[in-house]
Symmetry: C2
Subunit: 576 residues, 2 copies
């Protein structure tokens, strides 16, 4: 039985299961969400108006036994960037959705009042979601698990999305049922809420599972990939990611002079050590959390964790590198317990941590509070929860608060705030920030792998010549984001050729298509071309492929460098 | 003695008088501000960052005895639109500046603390302006007139500009010294404040005056133009403008179904009559104000007035058509006394009334208050004055508050809110809104003249074929905005050929250049090309030359029409 596309018209309340067209048959994840958005959403529509849509699509191998492949893509026109958006998340939800035979769910129209979309193997229905409006997500998830049993998977938007905050992510459950996994970037939570959709609840009981056309090929590939993951220093048992999680990067990037402190004012500070991955792993032991941990069943990398308060109380879920940085050093805050509370508040309210940390940092620069004022930052989160105007000033992203407070040092590209790598001292990631279709996004072409970690061969982060590496990684990332594999499989795959072969064989096996490693660059380019064409129709030009002015003129200590990759070079990324 | 360009470096505090280059010699007003901004400001700079500049330039004939020519252009990169901006104002300030031999003042850099630029015939200096920071402008002007005597002219920015509000205009004195004349549009007040400049004070005592190269030609032209103004029905003594001011349009445009009510939800309502120009003229008599009145000496049209409270108290200055509409019908408010108070608050705080009225209307649509709640609107102005976060949500323009409250019916083009004509039922003005370099701006190509008033031949407002008329008017407007003449001279000039000849002769006379009526279209196109080229470098495309989605899909009563001029037609406006 092939997968179906479910179309939910929120206005009429009608659910329709559509056959998958030949054109969409080999697509999944990002490749599929971007194609559907490009085909169905007018590029010049208002992102919160009646014509935007939201698309959820698991990756191609998601829901199979392929390792570390519990990924889901969420697509729409972003109210943060004004361009196309794919936001990617790891959650069991993705696997359940695939096993239920859903290739994609398309949400369109707008309901009266908030609804919950409940799906199981027999179909679905829209239920009233009003009892959970205005409630924090941790509590809402508890109630929903009580109501539907602890086996369901939940996708949701929080209080800030209800307030149309364009920094609202879409939240998914982790394997403990915590509201801690986010398709965070680009404000798609606001789009979901603007359709009137509050929750998607999946009951995977007796789900048929994912059809694999060529089981032998799939199995062969799966083994090769699993072996590569288990052999690579970054991903193997006892390796960097399982041991310390993504926050292992805090010390490494700080040491390289590329960890932004106090709204991108310095690239290195001794205090970073206080919030490092190593320190965090130690504290998790003391506090009673859990590490390592998986975000979805079948992950053999296990970068995740459960951060808690003393005695295992108030479990947050994972504190990712990006979140620790955004809510920590970038705000001059070097206290993991406060960062944990801020992260919990973001998860509870429905906010993307990267954007929120940048927003707080710009608010600090604009004088709303002092750099380093962790208690003040926590109070801001309560202002948001209460829906005060001060709070509402903080839910629309970093550019918005920059405008509100007259700050011109605003670290955004295409309206989306930068992740935890300063592009002045790590120039390849600056090329990616500038030129990806997504707005400033490290995951779109993660040059940190070669520039900082030496994966696929070490290159100098301060060297300007990064067009080729960013191009190659942007294309391969578009493929990985479509496959359903976690981006972290790229570490072993970049260094171990058999790993890459195995990855491709699993995808070919599921689809029953003849795909080889040589095809990947072209497939990636196709996806990016669709996204770039959408952005062009939305009014984007090469002028949108630029870093903010202050990064081109203001030197970053300790290397005292500006971002000096020429515009003409940036424009070459999408050539060829 | 020829004019000079004064360059003020706010950082060093240095004032330099520069000779006028041959390239700039024949330019004035908008033609000059746009050229200097285009030459000196990087199009991709942050409008509030260190590289933006502010340019003030009187028109070519400003400061002479040419009738109705007391106009000044203010230019910069707009923080509201992100593109080039010329904002035009009528004030004696313009005349004094020209008489002081200043072709332009260029403000660059940023001072510590707020300064006042004081200029007289012997030169200038920067003084401390901190005593007036945080003070309403009516009171500040009173104090400055006490300090410097009642003959000076004053340019200023208000409290909202100090708060970086990108809907901050630049205020100028009327002939009674009231802070009521505004270069309001596009947020250039925020740019001026971001340079650290709070006031420009001009002492015109013994100013040398404006040199006229060919006095005979000038005098010949002046008489022809004055005669045309005194003959035309709109501008003559007892004509529409002197009798009722610009608000004479309220009844006329409402009758045509083009007066937007309640955030562009209806084009005609009976209640409009309660805020008509006729009603206002009657009330001015009762309340003790003055009508007609001039905005600057030598104006023979006299559309202005002094609106006051009962007994002539709390004089506001003029209540323009656009302001009455924006703060009135567009907010569902049909009470002139409340509108007068709202207008006074805008003048006092330093806000553009058109943008502010739209902002309040969108705030009403977003649920911040009810349509028609005049008292609530007045309370919002006090929130702004106090600098609360609620208030600060309202000083950054209409798109900002739309985003803040999740409203998608936001009537803006290029980020600037629409004036008092609904483009669905008056399509030519829609073509101008869409395609002008300025963002939605009626003055940039005032098709209302032929579409509603029949000036230059009557054409049907509902007819779609408006590319040619908008193009012609955008070009001629660019010329008028450079000449120093008030745009209202266009009424007689469009209908009476000798008037136009006379206008051109005065300009040719001042410059000593051989300019004829046939040259005007080309000169206008040159100015627009410079502006369009700047906007292109700033990242604008034809996608920015579009009206908002809801106006293309939502029918406007009573004609039940959408804006249906095709995109391809809009793109033709700047061809040829």
């Amino acid at each position: 039985m092939g997968k179906k596309i479910l179309r939910v018209d929120m206005e009429s309340g009608k659910l329709e299961y559509e056959e998958v067209s030949e054109e969409y048959r080999t697509l999944g994840g990002r490749g599929l969400t971007s194609k559907i958005i490009s085909d169905e959403v007018p590029a010049d529509c208002h992102p919160m108006g009646p014509n935007n849509k939201l698309v959820l699509a698991p990756g191609i191998v998601t829901g199979t036994s392929a390792p570390s492949s519990g990924r889901l893509s969420v697509g729409g026109k972003s109210p943060l960037t004004g361009g196309i958006k794919e936001s990617n998340v790891g959650s069991r939800f993705a696997q359940t959705m695939a096993k239920l035979g859903l290739k994609a769910v398309v949400i369109q129209g707008k309901s009266d009042g908030y609804k919950m979309l409940k799906l199981d193997k027999d179909g679905g229905e829209l239920l009233d979601a009003s009892p959970w409006v205005g409630m924090g997500l941790y509590k809402a998830y508890e109630e929903l698990y009580q109501k539907f049993g602890d086996k369901v998977d939940i996708c949701s938007v929080g209080i800030t999305a209800e307030m149309s905050g364009v920094n609202s992510g879409i939240c998914f459950n982790d394997i403990d049922g915590l509201s801690s996994r986010y398709a965070g970037r680009g404000g798609l939570g606001a789009v979901m809420a603007s359709r009137g959709l509050k929750f998607v609840v999946l009951d995977g009981k007796n789900a048929p599972g994912v059809e694999i056309k060529d089981k032998e090929l799939f199995e062969k590939g799966r083994k090769k990939l699993a072996k590569a993951i288990q052999e690579h220093d970054v991903t193997k048992d006892g390796g960097a990611l399982p041991s310390f999680g993504t926050a292992v990067l805090i010390n490494i990037v700080n040491e390289a002079g590329g960890l932004p402190h106090r709204n991108f004012s310095s690239g290195k500070e001794d205090m970073a050590e206080m919030v490092s991955g190593e320190k965090k792993a130690e504290m998790i032991k003391q506090l009673g959390g859990e590490r390592p941990h998986v975000c979805s069943p079948g992950c053999i990398i296990r970068c995740s964790e459960v951060w808690t308060k003393e005695g295992g109380k108030d479990p947050v879920g994972v504190l990712e590198y990006e979140s620790v940085w955004a809510l920590g050093p970038n705000c001059g805050i070097y206290d993991l317990e406060i960062i944990g509370e801020l992260n919990r508040a973001c998860n509870d309210l429905g906010l993307d941590t990267i954007e929120m940390g940048n927003t707080i940092a710009v608010a600090m620069e604009g004088g709303m509070l002092e750099f380093g004022d962790g208690e003040g930052a926590l109070e801001l989160m309560e202002e948001i929860r209460k829906g005060t105007y001060k709070g509402r000033m903080l839910i629309h992203g970093t550019e918005f608060v920059g405008k509100a407070l007259g700050v011109h040092r605003v670290p955004t590209v295409k309206g989306q705030a930068m992740p935890a790598y300063d592009p002045r001292s790590i120039k390849g990631i600056g090329v990616t920030y500038a030129t990806t279709t997504m707005g400033a996004d490290h995951t779109a072409g993660y040059t940190i792998a070669p520039e900082i970690l030496g994966t696929g061969g070490k290159i100098d982060p301060l060297e300007k010549d990064k067009v080729d590496i960013s191009q190659a990684l942007q294309r391969s990332t578009a493929v990985i984001d479509s496959s359903g594999y976690c981006l972290f499989t790229a570490f072993p795959v970049l260094d171990i050729p058999e790993g890459l072969e195995g990855m491709v064989e699993t995808v070919a096996g599921v689809l029953g298509e003849d795909i080889t490693v040589e095809d990947l660059d072209g497939i990636g380019k196709q996806i990016l071309d669709i996204e770039r064409e959408f952005n062009k129709r939305a009014g984007f030009t090469e002028k949108d492929d630029r870093l903010p002015e202050f990064m081109r003129t203001e030197e970053l200590p300790p290397h005292d460098v500006v971002f000096d990759v020429e515009d003409g070079e940036l424009d070459k990324v999408h050539e060829g």
